[in-house]
Structures are given as structure tokens and as C-alpha cells.
């Protein structure tokens, strides 16, 4: 017979729509409107999981998001496997495939349950007291065993094919929770014309009304009216999981997982980021379990969960029912179950000094022992034990918003203490309408569970107190109570009450633990949203990108930029390609797309003064049409960026920065301009995107550029090294600089970005006619290293001064101040013995150095020796046909000519300290 525990009538399920599903490979039937939990119960399945530590059989405790036991892995196909979902929240669909967790080989027969036999060795915190001998065994033996035993479900093995999205919303009123209080709050606000968002974690609006068969009519009226209001947005399957500063609330909406097959046009989940003028928290209250021996046996359930299964899902979770309660709600539940046909074996009212002493049964409860007021025991057969220990308001979100709580003695729980500026709690969440529930005596012989999922018993909490853990946070951490995936929704108050009783202090004085977001777990993918793959981080490409793709470019990432590392011709390897490019540049010429360089146009009557204060250089004698290499320090006196400053006009400059540096350089400039040098009239404009920049470098550079311009006189007499001209190149407006980062005669052509690709193509054609080629970053790195030109971030490391780099003379001596100048006279920055930039030549010219390698004075330096420096750049010089390097070495300039040592794993490499300029020290090529 299918669904033997399904009631013949009643409930909100659609009996006309039967659905098939499997649990651990066995096929069952349920109805649309079921949760996986209600459908399993309809089929008489109570054993649904194994506990974390002792692998005890566990059943369904609740009917909502507080469920600690019924955790499942849901398999929706490759990459769509999700562990640790709560059966009480999983909506049934046709073909649903559920798998139980944390058991081997099967749920029914779990070898892990053997741990119960040694459970007396595994009290709270046992692992802090043992596994210490021998020392290495923790990592090798004990920890791997513990790790294997721990963990719940298995992580997916394939990437997630689903999509996630992200929405922002603003409204007047956000109502969280669509139970009676939330519905009324939303209606009130909606009728008043406010824009309202009402969200609820369940598939249906109604909250506790869904469990009340008499309230169906009322619920329908509410929802019909809400749906008719255009200013009200209803979000079902949407959990408000976090409240952040300034009333910013995050919601997670589940869009696809309740459908048999994922709708490809829809994302799986969506993250809502809501800013509301006012937030109403109507999250209701969670029923507390009772703590008694054997309270974790399948068939022991929260009373109102029993009510929900009967009234909402038309399922009778048991036929012979014992009810244990501390409040009058237990009787109402008894009436409802009786009306549905269950036999109420007895009601144990803990207020009458009676309690549950034990439960019996293997994988399902079969009887309970009741301890009567006269201390006698009475055994009663049952297949369902419903318990109600009172109610705990869901103050999680209020507490996250930094709302204060107070302990309510009649309710034995924490309730909101007042309201916040824009956040209020209503209904059960505020403690309204909850049944008073006196504190109950805990009887604790045998395992009485407090935190079901983490297998924390009342004895564990007592042990923690005995061992001196008196702060509630310590007790939580030592016992792990409240740290499971339900975050203690059913356990925290009970744990606190037991701790308070053990310490012999009032519960209110012990305090509560911090409520941390999220309210229920949130998918990583939902938080990441659209930021994935190509959208994870935008790609910035150079004007020559498509050309480079077609010409064998191998790219590398620099920040967001994709730049050509080298161009592989006819399948050349990297080294061959780089060497060819280097030789071509020195023999003929090369072209390089330098468009990623940052560019700032600086103008205004005080532009010159500003530059003098921002860079170490003195630009006072920089004529119009000239440019200069410039170094920028931070206020701590350390090199921060470098570039070229070119003077376009009396009050207008073209300034370049490093590729990665434009953002922070501009910020740095704006900072000083706006807040320190406020009297200066200067405007800074980031023109990085406006100009494409191409370097042409080599002895034939002038011939190549000359073919592209008629308006600029390139002759050395007219346009010497470090000149700047405006004119046209390839009929595009151009700023042409004669600058070099290779030591060759060189130009940088700046043309409007819209013309970039066209000019590059023309440039390449011209270059080809002169036996020149394109070169990439790797060749650039070799060419500039041969000349001892630095790269900020490579030859500098945030502790480097201008003098360290040999730029001491560049500092404008007549300048009173520039950013960083004062720091240069601090003791350490002015001290002797600092690391200075030098060149290195391995004594064996074939021997390559590694960048970052350390440098010692002695050969065979023992471990722990002081490194006098490190290699900043190492490369093979094509033109010198040998290995060279740049390095920062203590007192390096004084050591030129001497031999130092670079210790490597397989022996030292002796190196000669040299000038950092390896090629053309006189600069004949540069000025040619």
C-alpha cells in the first residue's frame, strides 16, 4: 500500500498530483505540496539520518527550517548534487532523488554506530585531552580518522552548471515572515499605499496559519488581498538571512530547486539586497524540544511539527501518540491528532511533576517510561512522542541588527527589548501570543540530547560547567552545542537553561550567544551571483589585441589587462621568440603596444608647482616640448610609481604612470590636490582610455615612424631624446614622445583610442618594411634590464628610496618640499648600508640566476646567514649572449667589481657585482 500514513482527507496537498521520488534508492509516492519530510512520513519512514558523533538513528524532529536531524543529499544530476539539505524544507517534485548521509554502508546498518559503545570515552571536548602521543600521530593517525568520521554529506565532485543572480530593491516596508503577524503588517502597510516587500522562507505564505485547518479561509482572504495590491511584492521561498549596518537586509530566493528539471532560462537562486525605510520582523517562534533520556529516537517529534504534518500535509505521523508538554499547547495538538484518528495514549504534563524517564525502540520509538509524581515508572506503548517545551522567538535577525534582548521569565526565553530605529519585531518573534512555559527539571540519566545534530547531551553541558567553562560562549565552543548547521535553533535555550541550572544562576544573567548570519545556510553561488567566469573580473585588452591573437601572441595577465608576453612565429618556443624579438629590436627595431600605461593630463596655472610637489624631480626647467623620467614617492619616502612627465604647454602636461598604477597614482594626486595643496589651481584628468600608446624602438625607429607622419620633424636636431611633439600620425591627432625603455632610439606614439587598431596595423606594415617586428613583455623586460632601467614593483619593494635606485641626483635640490621628502631624512632612510641597485654577472656566463634569489657575502653561507641582497631581475641578454641580472645589494655601489654569492638548492652561483647598465653605458644608441 502506498502512503499508509496519509489521511484520507484534509491538508493542503494536491491529491490529484501524485509524485514519485526515491530515498536511498527506494521508490515512494507523495503529493504535490508535500515536503520530502511529509512524504517520507506518509510512507511511514521515520529513520532518515544518523547523528554526527554517535551515529544514532535519527528521525524527523520538526517541520521547518529549524530541523537538526533530517539532512539529505539531493541529486539533480551531474554537478547538481547538494549535501546537507533539510528534508523539512525540500519541496517534493516528480523524480526527486534523496540520499541519506553520514552512514556506512547503509542507513539501516551503519557501522559508525559502533562509536556508541565507546561513547563514554567521547564526552564533550575529549579530543583536547588525548591524541597527544606520540607527537607525530596527531597529523598522521588520529586527525585523519577524526576527519573521515566528521563532515556530513559529500561535496559535489563536478562544477555547478546552474546560474545565480542578484537583485537590488528599495521599499518603504520590508516584512520578513508571512505568518499571521507578517501578513497583517504587510496588509496594513500595503493598504496605506507603502511599497512593501513580504518575504517568507516557505513555498506558501501563511506561516502557522498553514497548520490550522480552521484558518484556511482567513489565509485566502489575506493572500488574495495582498496579491491584488500593486505596491506589494510577495517573495516566497525567500529567506531573509542577514541584517547589516543601516538596515540593509539580504534575502536568498530559491527559484529552481522545487522544479523537476531546472528551468534553463531561470537562475537557481537569487540574492536580494534590500534597503527598506522600515523592516518588520515577523519570523515567529520555534518550539523547544524537551530534554530527557532517549529524546532523539525516531518518532520523537516537536508537537507542532506533528500538528503541521496532520493539518497541512494530511499525514498522520503516528497512530499511538504520547504527548509530553510544559504548556497548554500540547493539549491543542492532542485534540487535533485525536480528531485525525490517532489514539492519544497519554499526555505527560511536566507541570504536574511527571516526566519522561526513558524511551524504547530500535529505529523507531515503541514505548516510553513515564516517571510519575510518586517517582514510580509507567511504561506506555506508542509510535509517536510529541513534545513541547515552550517557544523560543526567532530573534536572530533582530539580534543581528544589534537589537537588545531581555529574558522573559514566564516564557523562559529571550525576547526583543524595545525596538531599533527602523526595525521592529511583531507576533511570536516579539514574544506575543506565546504560551507561558515554566522551567522544567531536567532528568539526566541516559543520553538526553540538547543539540541533536552535534550529539550534545545535557551531561556534556554539565561537564563543561564542571570543567570551568562558565561563559555561555565557552560552553558552546567546548561542547559544540549550537554550532551545527541549524545554528542551535532548537537547542540554544535548552543548553542555556541547563548551564544556568548547573551554575546555579538565573538564566537571564548567563546571557545568550551571539546570533551570526546567515539565519539558514546560503549557497556560495548565490553570494557570488553573476561574478563568474568571464564576469568574475573584466578583461581589458589592448588596441592590438586582435592583431596579436592572429600573430601568435601568448598573453599574460597584469591586473585586468591581457598583454602579449611574446609572439611565437612558426611554433617557436618562448625563449627563441624572446631572443629573436630582442635581437630584432637592437638590430632593426620593434613595436610594442604600451597602451596599458596610465596617462594623466595635468593642467592649470599651478600644474608645474603641483608636479614639483608630487614627484621628486624639479620640472622648473622642463621646456615646452620636452619630457623627463619622473619618480613618485609616497609620504613615507618610498618609491611608489614612475613615468614620464611631458610638457605640452606652459600650464599643460602629459604624464604617464605604470600600467597597474594609474588608480592609486591618481588617487594619491587627488588626495594631495584636494586636501593639502588646496590653493593650487590644477585639474587632473585620467586619459588612459583616450590614448593608445605604441612604442617604436630601435636603430630604425625613426625611419618607421617617419613613414607615418608628415607633420612632425623627427630629425635628431629637431626632435632629440626626451622630446614631445603634437601633430598627426597616420592622419590621427598624435602626441609623439621620443623616449626609450630599451636604450635604443625610440618613440612613443599616442593616438586617440578610436584610431588605435588602425594605426597599429599601419605601424606594423611600416615596421615590416624595415625588418622590424612586434615584441612582447618578455623581450621588453630583457631590453630594459640590459640598460638597468627599473620596473617599480620589481626593482622596488615598498622599502626602496630614490637613492637606493641611484636616483639621488634626480631629486630637485632646490625644492623645499615634495611628497615623501621629509621622510627621506629619517634615520633609517638616510642611513648607510642600504640596499642599492646594481648589476650582476654570473662568473659562469651560462648560468642563469633566478628572480628573488638571495645574495650572500660568503660562499657556502650556512643556513640562517644574512642576505645582503636579492636578485630583482634575471634574464639572458641576447645582445651580450650571456646571463645578466639586476639586484638590490647592501652598499652595492661600493661593491662593484667584487664577487658575491647566490645560494641555490644545488650550490652557490658566484656573481660579479657590476653597474646596472650592461649595454651602451654612454647612451650613443639612445641619442642616435
Amino acid at each position: 500500500m502506498t502512503q499508509p500514513y496519509r489521511l484520507p482527507t484534509g491538508g493542503r496537498i494536491a491529491r490529484s498530483r501524485p509524485l514519485r521520488f526515491t530515498f536511498d534508492g527506494r521508490s515512494y509516492e507523495g503529493y504535490a505540496g508535500d515536503t520530502l519530510a511529509s512524504a517520507l512520513l506518509a510512507n511511514g519512514v521515520h529513520l532518515v539520518g544518523r547523528s554526527f558523533k554517535y551515529h544514532r538513528p535519527r528521525g524527523i524532529l520538526s517541520a521547518g527550517s529549524e530541523e537538526p536531524n533530517a539532512l539529505m543529499t539531493i541529486d539533480r544530476g551531474a554537478g547538481r548534487v547538494t549535501p546537507n539539505l533539510r528534508a523539512t524544507q525540500i519541496e517534493l517534485y516528480d523524480g526527486l532523488c534523496a540520499i541519506s548521509q553520514n552512514r556506512w554502508p547503509s542507513l539501516d546498518f551503519d557501522l559508525g554506530a559502533a562509536s556508541q559503545f565507546v561513547s563514554r570515552l567521547l564526552p564533550a571536548g575529549f579530543y583536547y585531552k588525548t591524541f597527544m602521543w606520540p607527537r607525530a600521530a596527531w597529523r598522521r593517525v588520529y586527525e585523519p580518522l577524526i576527519r573521515r568520521a566528521a563532515g556530513l554529506g559529500k561535496a559535489p565532485r563536478a562544477p555547478d552548471p546552474d546560474r545565480y543572480t542578484n537583485q537590488f530593491a528599495h521599499c518603504d516596508v520590508l516584512v520578513i515572515g508571512a505568518g499571521p503577524a507578517g501578513l497583517e503588517a504587510a496588509l496594513r502597510a500595503g493598504r496605506a499605499g507603502s511599497s512593501v516587500i513580504l518575504c517568507d522562507e516557505q513555498q506558501e505564505l501563511g506561516g502557522s496559519l498553514l497548520n490550522n485547518s480552521q484558518a484556511a479561509e482567513r489565509l485566502l482572504q489575506y493572500t488574495n488581498e495582498l496579491r491584488a495590491l500593486p505596491n506589494v511584492r510577495l517573495l516566497r521561498r525567500t529567506t531573509a538571512f542577514g541584517v547589516f549596518a543601516q538596515n540593509f537586509v539580504a534575502l536568498a530566493e530559491r527559484i529552481n530547486d522545487h522544479l523537476p528539471a531546472s528551468n534553463k532560462d531561470m537562475p537557481r537562486e537569487s540574492l536580494w539586497q534590500v534597503r527598506a525605510e522600515r523592516t518588520v520582523i515577523a519570523t515567529g517562534a520555534i518550539e523547544r524540544p524537551l530534554v530527557f533520556p532517549g529524546n532523539d529516537r525516531p518518532g520523537v517529534m516537536l508537537a507542532h511539527a506533528g500538528l503541521a504534518y496532520v493539518n497541512r500535509y494530511g499525514v498522520l505521523p503516528g497512530k499511538q501518540v504520547v504527548i509530553a508538554t510544559t504548556n497548554d499547547d500540547g493539549y491543542a495538538v492532542a485534540d487535533a491528532l485525536k480528531a485525525a484518528g490517532a489514539e492519544i495514549a497519554t499526555i505527560v504534563d511536566l507541570r504536574r511533576d511527571e516526566t519522561i524517564a526513558a524511551t524504547h525502540g530500535g529505529k523507531r520509538i515503541s514505548s516510553v517510561d513515564i516517571r510519575l509524581p510518586d517517582n514510580s515508572l509507567r511504561r506506555i506503548a506508542c509510535d509517536l512522542l510529541l513534545m513541547s517545551g515552550g517557544w523560543t522567538p526567532s530573534v536572530h535577525l533582530f539580534s543581528q541588527a544589534r537589537g537588545k534582548l531581555r529574558f522573559d521569565v514566564p516564557l523562559q526565553c529571550f525576547v526583543p527589548d524595545g525596538t531599533l530605529d527602523a526595525i521592529e519585531c511583531v507576533g511570536g518573534c516579539a514574544g506575543a501570543g506565546l504560551q507561558p512555559s515554566p522551567a522544567t527539571q531536567i532528568v539526566a540519566d541516559g543520553k538526553s540530547f540538547v543539540d541533536f545534530q552535534n550529539d550534545v547531551t545535557s551531561a556534556d553541558i554539565e561537564l563543561a560547567v564542571r570543567e570551568g567553562f562558565r561563559s555561555v560562549e565557552h560552553i558552546k565552543r567546548y561542547t559544540t552545542s549550537g554550532m551545527a548547521t541549524d545554528q542551535g535553533k532548537t537547542s540554544n535555550m535548552n543548553a542555556l537553561a541547563i548551564a544556568a541550572a548547573t551554575i546555579d544562576a538565573p538564566v537571564g544573567s548567563v546571557g545568550t550567544t551571539t546570533f551570526r548570519q546567515p539565519f539558514t545556510p546560503v549557497t556560495f553561488g548565490t553570494l557570488a551571483g553573476l561574478s563568474r567566469g568571464a564576469l568574475f573580473e573584466p578583461v581589458r585588452t589592448l588596441p592590438s589585441h586582435d592583431w596579436a591573437l592572429a600573430h601568435g601572441a601568448v598573453f599574460e595577465d597584469t591586473g585586468q589587462w591581457k598583454r602579449a608576453s611574446y609572439f611565437s612565429l612558426k611554433g617557436e618556443g618562448m625563449r627563441d621568440a624572446v631572443m629573436r624579438e630582442c635581437r630584432t629590436v637592437r638590430a632593426a627595431a620593434g613595436i610594442f603596444d604600451a597602451s596599458s600605461l596610465g596617462k594623466i593630463e595635468i593642467s592649470g596655472p599651478d600644474a608645474l608647482t603641483f608636479l614639483n610637489r608630487i614627484y621628486i624631480n624639479d620640472f622648473s626647467r622642463l621646456d615646452i616640448g620636452r619630457c623627463r623620467y619622473a619618480l613618485m614617492l609616497n609620504e613615507a619616502g618610498l618609491a611608489m610609481d614612475d613615468g614620464i612627465v611631458g610638457r605640452l604647454a606652459e600650464t599643460r602636461f602629459h604624464v604617464t604612470t605604470t600600467s597597474g598604477g594609474i588608480g592609486h597614482v591618481l588617487h594619491h594626486m587627488e588626495d594631495f590636490l584636494q586636501t593639502e595643496f588646496t590653493s593650487l589651481q590644477v585639474w587632473l584628468t585620467d586619459v588612459t582610455e583616450q590614448w593608445s600608446t605604441f612604442a617604436v624602438q630601435g636603430p630604425r625607429a625613426r625611419d618607421i615612424v617617419g613613414e607615418l607622419t608628415t607633420t612632425i620633424d623627427l630629425s635628431p636636431g629637431s626632435m632629440s631624446h626626451m622630446s614631445l611633439r603634437e601633430g598627426s600620425v597616420c592622419d590621427a591627432d598624435a602626441r609623439l614622445m621620443r623616449v626609450s625603455f630599451t636604450g635604443e632610439c625610440g618613440y612613443e606614439i599616442n593616438v586617440p583610442s578610436s584610431e588605435g587598431a588602425r594605426v597599429w596595423a599601419a605601424l606594423y606594415e611600416s615596421a615590416s618594411r624595415h625588418d622590424a617586428s612586434a615584441y612582447g613583455l618578455e623581450a621588453l623586460n630583457v631590453l630594459r634590464a640590459e640598460k638597468g632601467y627599473i620596473i617599480v614593483g620589481q626593482e622596488t619593494d615598498g622599502s626602496t628610496t630614490p637613492d637606493d635606485l641611484g636616483f639621488g641626483k634626480m631629486i630637485g635640490a632646490r625644492k623645499d618640499d615634495f611628497v615623501g621628502k621629509r621622510s627621506l631624512s629619517l634615520a633609517h632612510l638616510a642611513s648607510s648600508g642600504r640596499k642599492q641597485l646594481v648589476g650582476l654577472k654570473p662568473l659562469d656566463p651560462q648560468k642563469m640566476l633566478e628572480e628573488g634569489a638571495q645574495i650572500t657575502l660568503q660562499s657556502g653561507a650556512p643556513t640562517g646567514s644574512h642576505a645582503v641582497g636579492h636578485v630583482t631581475t634575471a634574464c639572458w641578454s641576447a645582445v651580450l649572449d650571456r646571463s645578466i641580472a639586476l639586484a638590490l645589494v647592501e652598499n652595492g655601489r661600493a661593491l662593484i667589481g667584487s664577487t658575491l654569492h647566490v645560494p641555490m638548492p644545488n650550490g652557490d652561483i658566484p656573481v660579479e657585482v657590476t653597474s646596472p647598465v650592461f649595454v651602451d653605458p654612454a647612451g650613443a644608441r639612445l641619442h642616435g
Binding site: F244, A245, Q246, F248, Q273, R275, R402, E635, A636, H667, E670, D671, Q674, T675, E676, T678, D816, D817, K821, R822, S823, L826, A827
Partner: protein, 98 residues
């Protein structure tokens, strides 16, 4: 994510449009070359870092680009008021600057 009112754009915008600029109202020595090491270091590194109301700078980096000042409670992250750089510190009423 904070909502921050830019006093130049006169609109409240999300935090991601801004860049935090550290403690406000600090004076760079007028003539650094005459400042003692201690005075210079006080400007360069020493920070009030208060727990409570804190005058700080923000820059509307993805908006108008301007630096401005902000009084924020570092315990609650509540922004009390924002004002333009160089203007006097506003009298604080109980209103929320954001």
C-alpha cells in the same frame, strides 16, 4: 554596505562608489623640512582610531571624485553627518547623515 551621502553630489550612494580615506582633519606640517621627526611621524603614522564618533575622509571615487569628511560612529557604523572638505565641522544634530 553603507549608504554614504556625498556632500557634493548631495545624494546618498552605496559604499562601493567610495573609497575610504582614513582619519580626517589631520594637518600636514606647513613646512615639513622644519618639522621634528616626532612631529612628522605624528602626522604620518599616529592615528586617533577612536571607538565611537570618528571624523574620517571618504572620496567619491566612482562619482564626483571629491574628498569629503564624514562623522561616523565606529561602534554602530552609523553615519552622523558628511560635509565638504575645508568646511567647518557641522553642528551635529541627531539626524542621520545617510
Amino acid at each position: 554596505m553603507l549608504l554614504i551621502r556625498c556632500p557634493y553630489c548631495e545624494t546618498a550612494r552605496p559604499e562601493v562608489e567610495f573609497r575610504h580615506g582614513g582619519e580626517a582633519l589631520m594637518e600636514r606640517p606647513r613646512d615639513p623640512s622644519r618639522a621634528s621627526d616626532a612631529e612628522w611621524i605624528d602626522y604620518l603614522y599616529m592615528r586617533r582610531n577612536p571607538k565611537g564618533p570618528h571624523a574620517e575622509r571618504w572620496r567619491h571615487v566612482h562619482g564626483c571624485g571629491r574628498f569629503f569628511n564624514c562623522l561616523r560612529d565606529t561602534v554602530s557604523d552609523r553615519i552622523v553627518v558628511t560635509w565638504r572638505a575645508g568646511e567647518p565641522v557641522p553642528e551635529v544634530t541627531d539626524g542621520d547623515g545617510a
